[in-house]
Amino acid sequence: MQLSAKCAVGALAFVVVMSHSVHAVFLEGIEEPLATIASAAYEAALTSDVNLGPEVVAERWGELGMLMQAHNLHEQAITAYSNALTEIADPRWLYLRSIAYGELGQVEKSVDDLILVTSAISDVAIIWYRLGQAMLNADRRSDAERALTRALELDKDLAIAHMTLADVQILNADFAGAKASLLRAYEIQPYAGQIAYRMARVERELGDLNTSQEWIRRRANQFAPTIEDSMLSMVAQYSTNPTFFISAARRAWERGDRETALDAYRRAIALDPENAENLIGFAQLLTALNRNDEATQVLDSLEKVAPREGMLWYLRAVVLLEKDLVLAAQNAIEKAMEIDPTPQAVALAREIRQLRSYD
């Protein structure tokens, strides 16, 4: 399902109308850009007259759930999916709700939903893997093993299922079994550092310290094996609103995952290349990371769409200063001061003046 931001607003408009009469509106606490969209939709919807069947109502609730989930608003997503499910028992919403429950640490509810999903759709490996992982999180090891075995029957190359099966085997002290599972996972996705780390642990348990250390050395990163989850991709694709990616970038930045943050910004800007706010945010990130050449390119783009943006000239000054181009930096900060003399611009101007005084 590919939905545009416009469609998302339409969906919101509808569900908020429904919520007006049937369900509680739950806009409190959502982030500002999303709240703006939702409020606009709500106002638009109040003037509409709709009378639709349960399939459409469920679909719209589900769409709202995906939008919320795409913004990491899991509690709101659960409410929306639950509303959808009161209309129609659609496994899609159960599946996504299970993931939202998992994000909130509510593992038993996640398991319950996934059991229902697997009884409706029994031939998708990734769903069985999710069930296995949820069972493991609930410490239901034999159930987890069964679910993961089923996942691997459906897709023998699902590396993450092999690795999670190894987790169950490690917990059961079946280190030989775990080693076999991990070697298979490694064969499929050798670049996933989490597999190498587990191998190190297993080899240590098996008494081979040298091999354990060798696996520690092979652990080049802390990535899990990648998976392709079309339902979750749908959540991401649903949110073609760039704020989704901005939100993702912010969260990645806050947890120190710089590359993910930068990548999310790139995607947001690709969706809305003339959004000055996003360009500023991206340039700030690059500046903070001292990636000054890339920052300059972004600032060039920003200058084309918003040449009178004070932040543009402030950031230019920062970048130029980093490159020891003090005179050019002074010119830039003077422009920034002329447009928007923010305290940080004033401070930087003072700093640059001081540097110039040493010349």
């Binding site: 982030e31 593992v107 348990e205 806050e254 706010e277």
Partner: protein, 546 residues
């Protein structure tokens, strides 16, 4: 058959009951409110402090409360708010404290973060070290007042220290000091803001700042420290240290150092022969979680939660990361038991800081308390203009005695939505159960008095000990019971986050009503057994051959 026997043992001795706490700070006279210095600039520094300590500074047998203060960040001229010391003047079960800050020689010069306690000059009273953004400070205790001692090794300028541990690391009878340093932080007027959603100023993530190496100071006698960080190998790695504990973590009889690092692999500094330390966290299984992922570690607690006589570690983490329980397996090898123990999933929506293992109802197993408070702004609070918009409730997890924890949110421990940071444990009313004090960033101190009872409506039995060697608390001494109740405890004041605990040990005994035999391994390795210890009272046990 063994399972049946085990179940019977659990039923017979580990009697669960009603866990009940009462929050009494204001009525008991503890009116402290932390000042973060926040003025809307969202400096990362302002959301990090501060800690709290329980110590008997005046030797009257009652635990007093030392609370760490922050204060203004931008302009620290003029009169500054100070750390505060509340003297315990309780009679009976009613807790009463008197603010004695003005009379005991405290005075803040730096922005406070954490506190460490221990007798650094072996004169029989508890000294205090405050860890600051800026110079750290040593307060030597002279019985009824403190004297600030200028110690060059301790007072390195411009460091941001959060947690510390006092322990005799080189077996010379003097308590040495490990300091977990956080990160470089620019002068406030040079601080570059970080923005959320491009426009809104938010707290900068730690990754914006360079880490600072931790430091190890050897006590050369009488509380005179010498910085040996470089020569012992501690400075070979730098991460953002937040919590620290010392224990024998590989079973070789020497104290090792474990450091919880923010957004980085944790350290396990193993004590080598020759006085050096080697970081073996990764191979030991305690650098990253069981999945192999580093986490944003904040607080740390160490104790024998599974009663198999070895030290287990519990770490608190950021939101969307589970807290992690590392269970000691054998030969210095730990396994991640977070999921099996039930501690992982409920921690996902919270950001944990201070944490303690303690026996809430004295039923013979260890429960877990976690002081929570976000570091990322919570939109729902921001939109309601709640400051700081980081409030979360704390969590108590009750041990069922068979290896599973379940959250109990029915006590005052989980009642307040605040920005909690430190937690310290100790028996404030000397009634044999462990009370908790919680420090809140930009908020009040909470004093949670333990009123728990068992299922018969009675209090469970207990055994309290204070272990002494060289005229002071025997930090690092290991004590264990091998009878119906099996448990290993270590005399310590470290752990949690930026905080310090009562060094006395309380063993919960459930309904076991017989006198107890306690085995002790003193810090110098000498073992001793104390028999026929009457229950439901504290015993002062002194090493016979120190």
């Amino acid at each position: 058959m063994r399972a049946l026997l085990y179940a019977w043992v659990i039923c017979a001795f580990y009697v669960h009951g009603d866990i009940e706490f009462r929050e009494v700070a204001v009525e008991a006279g503890v009116d402290f409110v932390h000042q973060s210095g926040a003025i809307g600039k969202r400096w990362t520094l302002e959301i990090t402090g501060a800690g709290i300590a329980l110590l008997d500074y005046d030797g009257d047998g009652k635990l007093d409360i030392w609370v760490v203060q922050g204060g203004p960040l931008k302009d620290r001229s003029g009169e500054l708010p100070s750390d505060r010391l509340y003297r315990n003047v309780s009679e009976g079960s009613e807790l009463k404290f008197q603010d004695v800050t003005g009379t005991v020689g405290l005075g803040a010069e730096y922005y406070g973060m954490g506190v460490v306690t221990g007798d650094v000059d072996n004169d029989g009273d508890t000294d205090v070290i405050t860890l600051n953004f800026g110079r750290n400070q040593l307060f030597l205790n002279w019985g009824s007042r403190f004297e600030k001692r200028v110690d060059e090794a301790l007072m390195k300028p411009s460091e941001w220290s959060i947690s510390g541990s006092l322990a005799d690391l080189n077996d010379d009878g003097w308590l040495d000091l490990y300091i977990a340093n956080y990160m470089e932080f620019p002068p406030i007027d040079k601080y570059k803001v970080c923005r959320r959603l491009s426009t809104r100023v938010g707290y900068c993530a730690p990754s914006n700042f360079d880490p600072t190496p931790d430091r190890l100071l050897l006590n050369e006698g009488n509380g005179v420290f010498r910085d040996v960080s470089e020569e012992v190998g501690i400075q070979s790695a730098a991460e953002r240290g937040m919590g620290v504990v010392v224990d024998d973590l590989n079973g070789d009889g020497s104290p090792d150092i474990y450091v919880a690092n923010d957004m980085a692999m944790n350290f396990l500094w193993l004590n080598q022969s020759g006085g050096t330390f080697l970081n073996d966290a990764l191979l030991s299984g305690v650098a990253v979680n069981g999945h192999g992922m580093r986490e944003a570690s904040m607080g740390v607690a160490v104790s024998d939660w599974d009663r198999d006589f070895d030290p287990d570690l519990f770490l608190t983490h950021d939101i969307k990361e589970s807290n992690t329980l590392y269970s000691y397996e054998h030969a210095g090898w730990f396994s991640d038991q977070s999921i099996q123990s039930g501690l992982a999933p409920p921690s996902l929506p919270k950001t944990g800081f201070g944490t303690v293992f303690f026996d809430a109802e004295n039923d013979g197993d260890l429960d877990v308390f976690i002081a929570n408070g976000s570091v990322s702004m919570i939109d729902a609070q921001l939109s309601r203009r709640i400051e700081p918009p980081l409030r979360q409730t704390n969590q108590l997890f009750v041990n069922d005695g068979a290896g599973k924890f379940a959250e109990n949110d029915a006590t005052t421990l989980s009642q307040f939505e605040e920005v909690s940071r430190g937690v310290a444990m100790g028996d404030l009313d000397n009634d044999g159960d462990v009370d908790l004090v919680v420090s809140n960033n930009d908020g009040p101190v909470r004093v949670h008095q333990n009123l728990s009872i068992n299922s018969s409506g009675e209090r469970n039995e207990w055994l309290g000990v204070r272990l002494l060697t060289l005229g002071r608390d025997a930090i690092g001494a290991v004590a264990w019971l091998e009878g119906e109740i099996k448990e290993r405890k270590v005399v310590r004041t470290d752990g949690s986050y930026a905080s310090a605990h009562d060094p006395r040990l309380v063993f919960g005994l459930g309904r076991t009503s017989t006198s107890q035999t306690l085995h002790v391994k003193w810090p110098n390795g000498v073992k001793e057994t104390f028999s026929d210890l009457a229950i439901n009272k504290y015993h002062e046990l002194t090493q016979s051959t120190p």
